[in-house]
Symmetry: C2
């Protein structure tokens, strides 16, 4: 006879706990103040009543909060807890057989059938006496007295009243018998990040291109003025490409030519020179003090600054001399540069993540992040994280977050889906997405559904960019001004987090390096550009309006409520978002066609949107100020892209007051 290794009397089963990423291998992501709704399948053999509780705590704390779970039906149970602080929380689920409640439930049936007998009450008395032992104190005394009453017997009416007293049920429920309770394993984790992880408007610009005079290299002082321009448009985050010394060896010339001229400024991603590496500041941008002043000005304007961390080195980076083992040497003694044969990137050395000295390298990389955190930086946009070991990022982000849970990491991995998702799972707060290349109704709908619904949304947070210095899409190249409007409206309303690379975006820069390329002609990556921010055709007013709408409407500050709605025209896209508390409901209708007027009927699920079907409701266009009185589920829309590329409609549910007046909510 082999040994029995389980506790056979533990009869409750707990399965299918949600949210959980890969069965609990990774933390679920939330932001401060969120309610974490937990569901689980909880059941036992036979027909006994069950009890269940959700237990939550700050990671590592011995203090658990216990929340009773309620049965949703079909063995699914739910409860929620609020995460009010940054950092990590843990939770687990408990379930137990509730013999008192089983007894009570059966007794009620017996009473209804008038088949209750004194023995039934004696059984209950025993269960209540046990609860009294668990309770102790005044509650224990109360329960003991009640048990005595039921045990003593007497008139049926009297026994029935005392046994079915709701107060008795409530009190016993407070002291459940958890002797053979089942507890879920492993503990599931929640990573709680600042609100900015969920909602933010980003603006990227090149510091080098901020000087007022043509040809001069921009400085942090110039950047301070640019901050005002960005803040006025209503953005929250300013993201700067690398600000470190740029290598001279193999420096790239304008338009990515391999022979740089003497006055070429090189790519800021070729990091490191005699002046220093990832912790130093490019001399032409200014001094440490200039950077500090820039940071202070950003803070004054309510802007957060995101720095770019690109873990790679120019041949002139101090690391190349100090840590030759961090690079891969070739048999001829040279260092392997980055390469995608036949393309060569001789101005960049990748780090060798298989070096024997990897521990020291990781620690040094961590010190780069700590350095900039020390200077007030709270957001890092990480360049190509998918070309560095996953294990490194998982370690690094956990290390940083342990001390600085307010710091955010944006993953710039334009690569295969599983790799992008893996980076999100191991800790990146946000990620760039495939959004720039999704232009059709079906592909937008499918992709946005995937990333805004479980399981993906529990670990992956999108940041939707219209363009980047590397991505000038065909749509923007070919669609003219309307195309920029369309992509702005889509990005800013599909993504609670969105960004533009400006001033290229608002000035509608659309010339590619060559046909078929997504690179900009005369890209700022390799030269200083001068931008006429006051150009009368700038999209700045539209951008400002859209950002203001985002800031005023909580519906646009989350992605989880996104719902697509039917339109009988393939070039019109309709969707809505709603605030968590249901008070703010915004409906978008976007013309995906930058060339032609499109018209059609939108069909709304009034039930789901909680709009009474029997009266009109107001659709207020927050872009134009127009107000429409809509009736029923089907309503007509028409959009001429030369005039307007979409509606952002605030839906006012009409309520009837008792006085029979109507008003708009």
């Amino acid at each position: 006879m082999s040994k029995i290794r389980v506790e056979g009397r533990r009869r409750v089963v707990i399965e299918g706990i949600a949210p959980a990423v890969d069965g609990g291998r990774y933390a679920v992501k939330r932001t401060v103040g969120d309610e974490v709704r937990v569901e689980a399948d909880i059941f036992a053999d036979s027909s006994d009543a069950l009890g269940a509780a959700l237990l939550a705590h700050r990671e590592g704390s011995a203090e658990w909060t216990e929340i009773p779970m309620r049965h949703l039906g079909n063995d699914r149970w739910a409860a929620a807890f609020r995460v009010s602080e940054l950092g990590r929380y843990g939770f687990k689920v408990q379930g137990w057989v509730d013999h008192f409640e089983s007894w009570r439930r059966n007794l009620l049936k017996r009473i209804t059938a008038s088949t209750d007998t004194p023995v039934d009450y004696e059984i209950g008395a025993e269960l209540i006496a046990q609860a009294a032992e668990r309770a102790g104190g005044a509650d224990g005394d109360w329960l003991r007295a009640r048990a005595a009453v039921l045990r003593f017997g007497g008139e049926a009416k009297h026994l029935r009243t005392h046994a079915t007293d709701p107060m008795l049920q409530e009190l016993v429920l407070r002291y459940p018998d958890k002797q053979f309770a089942t507890e879920s394993e492993p503990e599931l984790m929640v990573a709680v990040e600042p609100e900015r992880a969920r909602f933010g408007s980003w603006y990227e610009f090149f510091p080098r291109s901020t000087a007022a005079e043509a040809g001069r290299h921009g400085s942090f002082a110039d950047c301070e003025r640019r901050l005002e321009y960005v803040a006025e448009m209503g953005f929250h985050v300013v993201y700067l490409p690398p600000v470190h010394p740029i290598g001279l060896s193999y420096r790239k010339g304008r338009n990515n030519t391999t022979e740089a001229q003497a006055d070429d400024c090189g790519s800021p991603w070729a990091i490191g020179a005699a002046d220093g590496g990832h912790k130093a500041i490019h001399r032409e941008l200014g001094t440490e003090q200039d950077f500090q002043r820039f940071m202070a000005r950003a803070r004054e304007l309510g802007l957060e600054v995101a720095l770019d961390v690109a873990l790679q080195a120019s041949p002139d980076h101090p690391y190349v001399q100090e840590h030759p083992s961090w690079f891969r040497a070739r048999p001829d003694g040279t260092i392997e540069y980055a390469e995608n044969p036949p393309k060569k990137y001789q101005d960049i050395y990748p780090f060798d993540f298989e070096t024997e000295d990897w521990r020291a390298m990781w620690v040094e990389f961590k010190s780069i992040f700590l350095h900039w955190i020390g200077k007030g930086v709270t957001i890092f946009r990480v360049d190509n994280p998918h070309t560095k070991a996953f294990a490194f990022w998982e370690w690094l982000i956990a290390e940083i977050k342990r001390e600085y849970p307010d710091v955010l990491f944006l993953s710039e991995a334009f690569t295969r889906p599983r790799i992008m998702y893996r980076l999100a799972k191991i800790g990146f707060s946000q990620s760039y997405t495939y959004f720039p290349w999704r232009n059709g109704k079906q592909e937008i709908t499918a992709y946005l559904r995937e990333i805004t619904q479980p399981p993906v949304r529990d670990f992956f947070r999108a940041n939707q960019w219209t363009n980047t210095p590397d991505i000038l899409t065909e749509f923007l190249q070919m669609g003219g001004r309307a195309a920029f409007g369309i992509r702005l409206l889509l990005a800013a309303t599909l993504g609670a987090n969105y960004g533009i690379y400006g001033p290229a975006f608002e000035l509608m820069e659309s010339q590619p390096l060559r046909q078929g390329s997504e690179e900009y002609l005369n890209s700022e990556k390799y030269e200083i550009r001068q931008w006429d921010l006051e150009r009368p055709d700038s999209l700045r007013p539209l951008i400002s309006r859209v950002n203001a709408i985002r800031n005023e409407n909580p519906a646009l500050q989350n992605d989880w409520s996104l719902r697509f709605h039917a339109v009988d025209n393939e070039r019109l896209l309709c969707y809505s978002k709603e605030a968590d508390d249901g008070t703010n409901l915004i409906l978008m209708v976007i013309n995906l066609d930058p060339h032609y007027t499109q018209r059609g009927f939108v069909t709304l699920p009034l039930d789901e949107l909680e709009i009474p079907a029997d009266r009109g409701y107001e659709a207020e266009d927050l872009l134009s100020g127009d107000r429409y009185l809509w009736h029923g589920p089907r309503n007509y829309v028409e959009l001429d892209p030369a005039q307007r590329q979409g509606h952002i409609l605030k839906l006012h549910r009409r309520l009837r007051l008792e006085t029979d007046f109507e008003y708009f909510l």
Copy 2:
């Protein structure tokens, strides 16, 4: 600085391994001879080439079989292994960065662009020399020699030939560098059961009702004759309700009345009397020797015998005296009988799975199974397993299977879905299903898809019953002869495992106890019935034909290939099944309406079915012998339920021979 607890150079990630039940908590189910296809997401940072292998072994064996995995695209990899023996297998997945293949791939690009240099070959030589070290022996010598050639340099043409030699690639591949390989965790398990777990035709009958003369209690000798009748119809498994002594206390009378008459035989599920309990044989059925002769006769006829195990006791069961602590006592000293207030089942005592003596009780229950296994029984139909602790079944089935991996367990749990699935996960080989109550096209399609596709099919095996002694469905009560035909065709072609409760089924017994009840009037559960097996209207010929078709056509011996096809009539259901090797393709068209002729056009996905679209194909009705020449995807069907309730069509794909003759496969 906190300690780094990982191996930072392990760069490969393995995720999303399938098949796996609940992340590996339970074994995946397969039958002997199956190929287990394993898929996984395998990827690393950067763009290095990867290698991956599937490792499989018999549980606990130190000998692993290694099968190279191939890349399916989008980071999904696959390989398969065959499970040729009963019992448990384990498998895991390995992935590693393949530096040689990365080098080779890049070298080929360089050669194409004519940018290869001697240093490139020296790098390769180093990688080949490392492979030589891992290889040793003759292969090592060969590789060392090749490394020397590449290191020595010389003419480009010469170097290129030697470096790109497929033999070199193959040989290096044989000795991969797994120093930093990633291995999946935990080991995933496969439970391999006999073919009968996947495919079998079951017949249930009451031994008490097998006597030739009216009123006499049937014996095992009578049952031997009944076996011939069952075997002739082409069944594989005979399932008998409990054959143990039946309690006298509170014995139920005919039609489940509470007052039994002196000659009432009681319910066989009220197990245990003075003659013994779960290991004894009901005196009126015969002796141990009679049972042994019955088993021998079954074996001769190629039939397996399934016994019913109902873990409950009549008040007269010896356990009640010997182990009073296994039952729940009430304060008045009586034992709690089974109850669902206000209904009382005083003839049955449930076991208390929360007894302190649970270990001894488990061990005793196990001995019941071992007892009958000792008598040649290989299949157990377990009565109401969901009213006993899950932990008990998980332990019991593992214990039995360790010694007797050929034994099967059928779960009779008609209860909520999660409970039925849980019982399957913890080891039951097969399960009764909701099939008896699925009559409409949408509900049949949805339910069958759920259970024949992952994740459910990896742990849950359906056994589709037309009826049971407890289940006379409304459809059978109201639909007449055609209804029995429809349900037979559905059960036998939707389910590779199916069963009927006879002779009630073939004799079309359809009177319920009362209107609205699913109980049979004059049920054999409470009385002896006499059946006229030779009645001319018996469905015996149809059943025999259907079983013969099942036995001859491998397509009907699996459930995984099930595909539903479009018909433009809601009362016609069309679906196909195919043999694993694709050589046997069977198409069903069933009229779900027992009253009216239904007609319509079936639309087949010819591509998926690998039927050439440009020529006719034969549809041979295996029930009627009719042959139809069909063309293209749309074909007409018409079924008068009074004549025939469905088609079972063997589709013969027509092939054109080189001689330009056509023939039917």
